[in-house]
């Protein structure tokens, strides 16, 4: 009897307490109160003021626009159909954010930010305010991409609508990922950037995105974005950039080649698989680095009017190896000129010679440009395509 009474009291207490928890989270963020930021632009001017450009998604525009996009026309003449740009300047990133709240109806939500875009001007002064906020803030994602704008301001690029994608920043992220898949330019996540920064000797890198103009139908000018280079950092400051060829060379050396093409004057080869290794060797103070590259490819174009012979295949393999080597050489020479260890040679030496590294590390900047670099490329041409005779012979 007593026991039953007690249980009844417990049940009543439970019933009183439970509604308190069933009401949901008191700090919930409803979707219609959020401005989902797809890309975040950073500009830092010479007085250290930070300008943040928020590219936010307008959810109501996403639903309707999929049909009209199929027709290839832009909605209502407006270039920015599904995104909205907001800009604010403040003495620090959070100061800029606090100003944002004065004119925005929704709070920014960073969980889906795919791109951090840095204006060229600011990136040459250093992006430490960004790196600190990014690492400290638990909502930021380690896998968002770092991108440097080839234009002066980040906002120049964030405002350009690129045909295929509704949300420009997502489109740009896809653009960069595709160029990395085809081994043109690196794809650098925030985590990779931070790790290069923390290693002290390795120079951080990031792809650069620029604008190019196209003439569309009816003579209308269409502005699009494209990846144009690789920015090289020293610490948090950009000190130079690699062009297309040098960027490819860099990717060959750091084992980031996935698929893509190697072009030599008489033929084009499609890369099937590629592996590379950085092998350091230490003789006193002289550092010798051997970059060993192992590549397999298929022939996709042949411009000479000859039948394919075994000798010709060997020649093509050699020509290909020479081309790869020259790309790597170009990257090495540029990195020597910038005195920035983009390849992580220092870390490679560290891994192999941990005792000597203690002595080398503080002097690495001086040592770096005196490194002797050897490039060894092994190539193998697997398939030659469906024909082994030329259609038009000489």
């Amino acid at each position: 009897m007593k026991r039953e009474k007690r249980i009844k009291i417990y049940v009543v207490i439970l019933l009183i307490i439970m509604p308190g928890f069933l009401s949901g989270c008191w700090d919930s963020h409803e979707l219609n109160k959020l401005s989902i930021v797809s890309g975040l632009g950073w500009d830092i001017d010479n007085t250290g003021k930070v300008t943040m450009t928020y590219q936010s998604i307008i959810p109501s525009e996403i639903k309707g626009s999929s049909g009209s996009n199929g027709g290839g026309e832009q909605k209502g003449g407006s270039q920015l159909s599904a995104i909205q740009l907001n800009q604010d300047t403040g003495s620090s990133p959070y100061d800029a954010l606090s100003r944002y709240t004065q004119h925005a109806s929704r709070i920014p939500y960073y969980e889906h930010t795919q791109i951090y875009l840095f204006g060229k001007e600011g990136v040459q002064r250093g992006i430490y305010p960004f790196l600190d906020t990014q690492a400290r803030n638990p909502v930021s994602r380690p896998k968002a991409l770092m991108v440097v704008s080839a234009e002066e301001k980040a906002s120049d690029i964030l405002g350009i609508q690129d045909g295929m994608e509704n949300i420009q920043a997502f489109g740009m992220a896809a653009e960069i990922k595709l160029s990395a898949t085809f081994s043109k330019y690196p794809e650098v996540t925030v985590l990779q950037f931070q790790n290069r920064l923390l290693s002290k000797t390795t120079a951080p890198i990031a792809p650069m995105v620029g604008i190019f103009e196209e003439t569309g139908p009816e003579g209308k000018k269409i502005r699009r974005t494209r990846v144009v280079g690789t920015a090289v950092f020293k610490g948090d400051r950009m000190i130079g950039q690699l062009n297309e060829r040098e960027s490819s060379g860099l990717l060959w050396a750091i084992n980031e080649i996935k698929i893509g093409f190697v072009m030599i004057p008489e033929a084009s080869m499609e890369i099937v698989s590629a592996k590379s290794k950085i092998v350091p060797e230490l003789q006193g103070d002289q550092v010798k680095i051997t970059i060993e590259i192992d590549e397999e490819s298929n022939l996709v174009e042949y411009r000479g009017h000859q039948d394919i012979t075994a000798d010709l295949v060997h020649e093509l393999e050699k020509g290909q190896a020479k081309e790869i080597e020259s790309q790597v050489r170009a990257a090495v020479e540029k990195s020597f000129a910038l005195d920035a260890d983009v390849f992580g040679f220092g870390e490679a030496v560290h891994r192999k010679y941990k005792k000597e590294w203690k002595d080398l590390k503080p002097r690495w900047d001086d040592i770096y440009s005196r490194i002797e670099v050897l490039v060894k490329v092994k190539t193998h041409l697997n398939e030659i395509g469906d024909v082994n005779k030329a259609l038009i012979k000489d």
Partner: protein, 367 residues
């Protein structure tokens, strides 16, 4: 006068040990600070030290079957000194669980529930723990059989999903830190979490086959040790140098998981592991504290003091450190040394004194 009538099997003991050691180390890498990318080596050495400490305290319980450390102390040192030492040990259990709770609040405040007051998080947790403690050790042991395999699965699948992101270059060169620093980090890994199993001095008395209890403890420690070494090595291999400067590396590593843009943002799994394993750890510690108090003060039941002690733990957890950095500082610099007298000192001295006094006397049934 039996305060605890329940008995747990040796297998349940092993599983309980696994859950206990996972505790808060599922989010904080043991040995992670100071040893850099060699943290997994520090963790391995720490595991060995932990096994050694486990050997000491299991030897003690082997000597005194069916007795908790409180009863052993009374037998070995006499009534007054024994109770004093018992109270010290109870203090350690109490303090440790407050530390785990503190850990909990800081993690949740930062990562999951930024706006929820710490008091609410902790009260909800301690109510569940108190209710479990009230039902005795048997219920907890059975619960751990359900919870621990799930978390083992989570840790394994986390690692599997991170395989594409693992870069073994991040672990090279092996043994990069000076050996002094490495040993310090190893001792840190031993004191948190492996040697904390010394709290099982309150539980080992209720194992149904006491002669096999040591191997159950070692088995549990080895399994959880290998899981943790794997997790620590994985974190360093995935995150690179970032693993050392971030406070919660496992959480950051889980954020990296991305399988075809579909299987992403699994970090909440890490939070779930912390909730469940932290629950087991706090429950064991709360159980040890209240049972110890009941035995020292000859109470008829430990149930009435569960909630008061639990609330005191919450208050202590809310006030003992001001901010996360104080907690991290204490965990790194203070705790490894602070814990020595409790983890090694009390069991070892008690064992030596018991051997010298030739206790327990055969045939003589004293309590």
């Amino acid at each position: 006068m039996a305060l605890e009538k329940g008995r747990i099997s040796n297998f349940q003991l092993s599983v309980l040990i696994i859950g206990f050691v996972f505790g808060s180390s599922v989010i904080i890498s043991p040995g992670g600070k100071g040893a850099g990318h060699d943290a997994w080596i520090a963790c391995a050495i720490g595991l060995m030290e932990g096994l050694l400490i486990a050997w000491i305290f299991t030897a003690l319980t082997k000597q005194f079957k069916d007795k908790t450390i409180m009863e052993i102390n009374s037998l070995v040192y006499g009534k007054i000194l024994g109770k004093g030492i018992s109270l010290l040990f109870i203090w350690y259990l109490f303090h440790l669980s407050a530390l785990v709770l503190t850990n909990y609040t800081h993690f949740f405040k930062l990562q999951i529930y930024p706006a929820t007051p710490n008091t609410v998080t902790l009260l909800l947790l301690i109510l569940v723990c108190a209710s479990t403690v009230g039902r005795g050790i048997e219920v907890l042991a059975r619960l751990s059989i359900i919870l621990v395999p799930i978390i083992i699965l989570v840790v394994f699948s986390d690692t599997l999903l991170l395989i594409p992101h693992i870069d073994f270059n991040n672990l090279m060169p092996v043994l990069d830190v000076p050996s002094g620093k490495l040993l310090l980090a190893s001792h840190g890994a031993a004191s948190f979490p492996f040697a904390e199993t010394v709290a099982f001095l309150m539980v080992l008395a209720f194992v149904d086959k006491p002669e096999k209890a040591p191997s159950a403890v070692f088995g549990g420690l080895l399994i959880v040790g290998f899981m943790l070494i794997m997790a620590v090595a994985r974190n360093a291999a995935v995150l690179g140098p970032m693993a050392e400067i971030t406070i919660y590396p496992t959480y950051l590593a889980a954020q990296v998981i991305d399988i075809g843009d579909i299987l992403t943002r699994l970090q909440v799994l890490v939070a779930i592991s912390l909730i469940t394993m932290g629950f087991i750890k706090i429950t064991v510690l709360l159980y040890g504290t209240v049972l110890g108090l009941a035995q020292v003060f000859n109470l008829h039941s430990y149930r009435p003091i569960i909630l008061p002690v639990g609330i005191l733990m919450v208050i202590f957890a809310l006030t003992n450190v001001g901010n996360t950095q104080e907690m991290v500082d204490f965990a790194e610099q203070g705790y490894p040394f602070y814990a020595i007298p409790f983890q090694i000192g009390i069991p070892l001295i008690t064992l030596v004194v018991a051997k010298l006094r030739k206790l327990p006397q055969t045939g003589g049934d004293q309590v």
